[in-house]
Subunit: 330 residues, 2 copies
DNA sequence: TTGTATGCGTTATCAT
DNA sequence: ATGATAACGCATACAA
């Protein structure tokens, strides 16, 4: 590989001048500039990023930590982040935490070691205090996941409203016996807390009781959904509707319901979450919650770059709208 | 950030010794080694990768170029590559070409500028000669996509066999009027050529005619599938079966067929490709071709790392098995 | 077993 | 407007 010295030698100028040309500095005469370009062309020169980093302390690389890239929600999110960043000349490093605390720490360390200029975190695995500590090494944005503090910029969806809309919709349809699935826990704090609150709020507001028997935690896959339905089947007192918090789970519920002779939505109404392609493939088509994933990714990317380039910039928290898509499963 | 000099100063030793400890060199006494660790710990030291790269010319980073990460096939492939690489201490940079020639070139340039130690190419956008040229700058592997030359290591699926199995299956079921969709073109060369050949071979072998009217190119999405079915509907001479080359397209075909009062597989048998989750959600469940994506990713990753670490290693070409999964759409 | 000195490719500082 | 030189953090050849 040609270096800046080679270019300097060939063009008969100094490294400094070449560097000036590369970085579009002023005070370089037209003809010398041309000479340099000529030489760069001839040598097929391109600057060595490692050297630039060592020198300039900037990597033009953003790290994104996601649980799993094979989850369509995150692959779309990453896609939006990446496209936006690319346009602005930034690379995106994608890291999969697999919901593992140690991996998350390992990735956060990239900020410390300056492999990335900033990190976009789409889910939090460790205690927040632990994660927050890394902010001293560079900018960090929470995108999708969030915390109840004001110590880091956040771009997120109004998850509570999402759950609220889904449940409210069911209640309006006359349902009083409503089951609830979450991908997280059913705690005040922790994963899925927001949707839980939205659920609670909608139920309380309409004076509908929450039956703890009908709460299912840690549900993610199609198979999980099938399993939930099997459990429902064994109950003497069954719900008439179920909010699943995931299109996959919803699809599983529906498939298994039909297999067992139930009719959706007559015997059981089902609400999903995400509006993934499969929502329009299950039959009946899924009523679900649509989230503006692309918008969220784009915003996160833009904010991050701004934070990197303007060290004193502190973005506002943002909560993006979310909507109910009514189809035929309710 | 602490540097190696800080560690040297604090431990009262030289940079060299510290460096030796970091890189597990022999000839460092137990106690000095301990001192160094002690100092590193105290300072929260971690080596600066940019400096290491500049010095050592190794990045422990592999680049993967995919068309789109939101395509589940590629997100699973990338996932497998990444997991394997991560275990061996390599990072993976994911690049989306969006099937754009220029983007592909831009990414290949990362090899030239040593941002990555090697590149795994999962699809080829430019002419092969153009791409091949970049091999002089570092190792390259073709994974999934391939060429008819012996100039680069390849790990791929037996796509021809995949298509062959699908078509053969249809013919065995008594079908003679078979439509064919491809995500590429219907040329001897170019995208999808292999599946085309498998299709041709199965047809010819059984003496079944190929009707050019029933060939559809450049089909990818669910919507594309719906569209294909609408076109079929307008024909007076209709096929009795269709091989789609994509589960999404197959799902679209089935959805639209049912919407128009056709029964699958009685009126139209449908074969997909990929065995994605939705294959078990459409009704009837999709007969499809299953590809060992994870295996392919793992192998590509392993081979690449070997090529990086042993400069004279030239991996064998590999063609991975592929299988037919019969469900109820045929 | 340990340390000194040098260079990797770039950019910023200071002269000229 | 242009150039000489130092410095970024690290790893190695060589010396001791």
């Amino acid at each position: 590989m040609a270096t800046i010295s080679d270019v300097a030698k060939l063009s008969g100028l100094s490294k400094t001048t070449v560097s000036r040309v590369i970085n579009n500095h002023p005070y370089v005469s037209k003809d010398k500039r041309a000479q340099v370009y000529e030489a760069m062309e001839q040598l097929g020169y391109s600057p060595n990023p490692a050297a630039r980093r060592l020198r300039g302390q900037i990597t033009t690389t953003i790290g994104v930590i996601v649980p799993k890239i094979v989850n369509p929600f995150f692959s779309h999110l990453v896609n939006a982040i990446e496209q936006t960043a690319y346009q602005k000349g930034y690379q995106v490093l994608i890291f999969q935490s697999y919901e593992d605390k140690n991996k998350e720490i390992a990735f956060l360390n990239l900020l410390k070691t300056r492999q990335v200029d900033g990190i976009i975190l789409t889910s939090i695995e460790n205690k927040w205090e632990v994660v927050a500590d890394y902010q001293q090494y560079g900018p960090m944005i929470l995108c999708n996941d969030y915390i109840n503090q004001n110590t880091v910029p956040m771009i997120r969806l109004d998850q509570a409203k999402g759950a609220f809309l889904g449940i409210e919709h069911l209640i309006k349809q006359g349902h009083q016996k409503i089951a609830y699935c979450t991908g997280g826990l059913f705690d005040e704090e922790g994963k899925g807390k927001d949707r839980n609150n939205g659920f609670q709020k909608a139920m309380t507001q309409s004076g509908v009781n929450v039956n703890p028997q009908w709460i299912f935690i840690d549900q993610h896959s199609i198979e999980d959904g099938r399993d939930v339905l099997r459990q429902l089947l064994e109950m003497t007192n069954r719900p008439t509707a179920i909010f699943t918090g995931s299109d996959e789970v919803a699809a599983g519920v529906i498939m298994e319901a039909k297999k067992n002779g139930l009719t959706v939505p007559r015997d059981l109404a089902v609400v999903g979450f995400d509006d993934q392609p499969l929502a329009q493939i299950v039959e009946p088509n899924l009523t679900t919650i649509r989230q503006p994933v692309n918008l969220m990714g784009t915003k996160a990317s833009e904010r991050m770059i701004q934070m990197i380039e303007e060290p004193h910039f502190k973005p506002e928290h943002e909560q993006l709208p979310i909507e109910l898509v009514v189809r035929s499963s309710t």
